[in-house]
Amino acid sequence: MGTLIKQELFKLTHKKGTWLAVLFMVVVQIGFAVLSWRYPKFFGTSMFVMNNYIGGALVDFIMIASAASMIAMEFQYGTIKQLLYRKYYRSQVFVSKLLVLLLQMIGLQVVASAMTGILTFIIKPKFDWTQVVDHMPIWRDYLLTTGGSLLVMLMLLSLVILMATWFKTNAAAIACGFIGYFVTAVAAQIIIMFVQRWHWLKWNPFTMLLTGNQIADPKTYHALTLLDTPVMIACTLGYTALFTLIAYLSFRRRAV
């Protein structure tokens, strides 16, 4: 398994796109930090800190592209047979890819968070991370928001990986991943309205897209989701496991 993980990391780190994506994220973060510095009335530092100077959204986009292409590229480039005929099983190949995706997500978030800290220190050296806003210090709000976003991202990525196992080309898988991302976001808004009418609908996976928001603001979002925060966290992890399992079964059945 260690060898497979090293192989996946080798491929990931030798793709120019991996580094260009990180560079793009950092440049965008710097850009929004400059905006916040020049126009503090319109672009408040606290707001930008919470979304990592837009870095949080970019982590999502980069990870969707990476998750979609990680399996689809093996079929597109015809390299899947080389991966699968060795002493490893399909399950090991699949899990090694998941672990590397997880590592990439953590790595990207670390870069985004480090940039957030550095940029905040540069543009607003006196920014007080301990100040209490909405009954919570900013640093705590930041950690909860970031953690919640990553949790929801895990569920979305499991869905993207599931879809990626159906495609034979990178481009199709990535396009489907992005479209899916926006469609699920819109669908979540619509379905949450119906939850108020039919309570049993609260268990659907779209509700779990609000887990991140509920972790940061339990009171407001509990009224919408009708679920307790620990239940939502458990359901988000449960759906992630379920989508990942279906993705594995799809990957295992695929002809090579």
């Binding site: 793709k15 480039y77 015809g78 047979k81 080389q82 005929y85 060795r86 002493k87």
Partner: protein, 300 residues
């Protein structure tokens, strides 16, 4: 010689179509086995089954006495393969492809050796996406061979290779076979395959219709000597008088060897008749002819 690869009673069905019917064969250690058959005969399916890439519908596959199936891959640790076409990551160089799959132990040494043997040094550090078809094919072969496995499975390895590369590949296969590596190779270029293979498996409609050594196959078709003399008409009469099996085909005297003394008897008859012999050519059934004959027999 001990069998490294054993395939017995292998069956495979795709939908309602049965493509392999109880396929049995073995590959001994250090032997090069050619797998030949018409398109769609099931060659790639057999190779994929041996590599645990597809589920089978019965039968057994063993490598070094360890079972192989889609859920049992341990025996594949000593197997290298190139199936159908080489898989290439466009963002890696040739060398990075080799480093990616080569075992950690003596990695650089093994990579350098295979690069040298296949004559890839000139472009191995360039991105693989810029390679020609032949270069990619060589890279695929190099990936199969880099770890010096016990069993190598090559599906149409000569595709796209220039004559020098084909010769290099032949030399490597022979050298590695001598060192104990077993090869299972499919190819449509039968003239090349017969230069490198020790044994041959002929597959048709999912059945193995012949498994023999290359030598036996060549001899099974019979040996013919073509003679050129100063007077072929008189030579024909002299040979017939000496009861040598001879025919005049396309103005050429053809002697069919019945035993090891046939040629000697023919030459004595001609010398006694005072007819000078200008040329003698030995013609054996080649793999292509044997293959066509066997497939033809299957049809009738």
């Amino acid at each position: 010689m001990e069998a490294l690869l054993k395939v017995s009673g292998l069956n495979k069905t795709f939908g309602k179509k049965k493509v392999l019917h109880g396929v049995d064969f073995t590959v001994a250690s250090g032997r090069v086995v050619g797998l030949v058959g018409p398109n769609g005969a099931g060659k790639s399916t057999i190779m994929k089954a041996i590599l645990g890439l597809i589920p089978t519908d019965g039968g057994q596959i063993q490598i070094a006495d360890q079972a192989v199936s889609i859920t049992k891959h341990q025996a594949l640790r000593q197997v290298g393969a190139l199936i159908e076409y080489p898989g290439i990551y466009p963002f890696l160089t040739g060398r990075q492809h080799l480093e990616l799959f080569a075992a950690k132990k003596q990695r650089q040494q093994h990579v350098d050796a295979i690069v040298q043997a296949l004559g890839m040094a000139g472009y191995i550090n360039k991105p693989a996406k810029s390679y020609s078809l032949g270069m990619k094919q060589k890279l695929g072969i190099a990936q199969a061979l880099v770890d010096r496995p016990q069993l190598v499975i090559l599906d149409e390895p000569m595709n796209g290779l220039d004559p020098q590369a084909v010769k290099d590949l032949r030399d490597i296969i022979r050298a590695q076979a001598k060192a104990g590596t077993s090869f299972l190779i499919s190819s449509h270029i039968l003239s090349e395959l017969e230069k490198v293979a020790d044994d041959v498996l002929i597959l048709n409609h999912g059945h193995i219709i012949q498994q023999s050594t290359m030598q036996d196959l060549a001899e099974a078709g019979g040996t013919i000597y073509e003679l050129q003399t100063v007077n072929d008409r008189d030579a024909l009469a002299a040979l017939q008088a000496a009861h040598v099996p001879v025919n005049l085909v396309d103005r050429k005297l053809q002697i069919t060897q019945t035993d090891r003394t046939t040629l000697n008897a023919a030459l004595i008859a001609l010398v006694h008749a005072g007819i000078a012999v200008q040329d003698v050519t030995k013609a054996q059934h080649d793999l292509e002819q044997s293959f066509l004959d066997l497939v033809e027999q299957e049809v009738h």
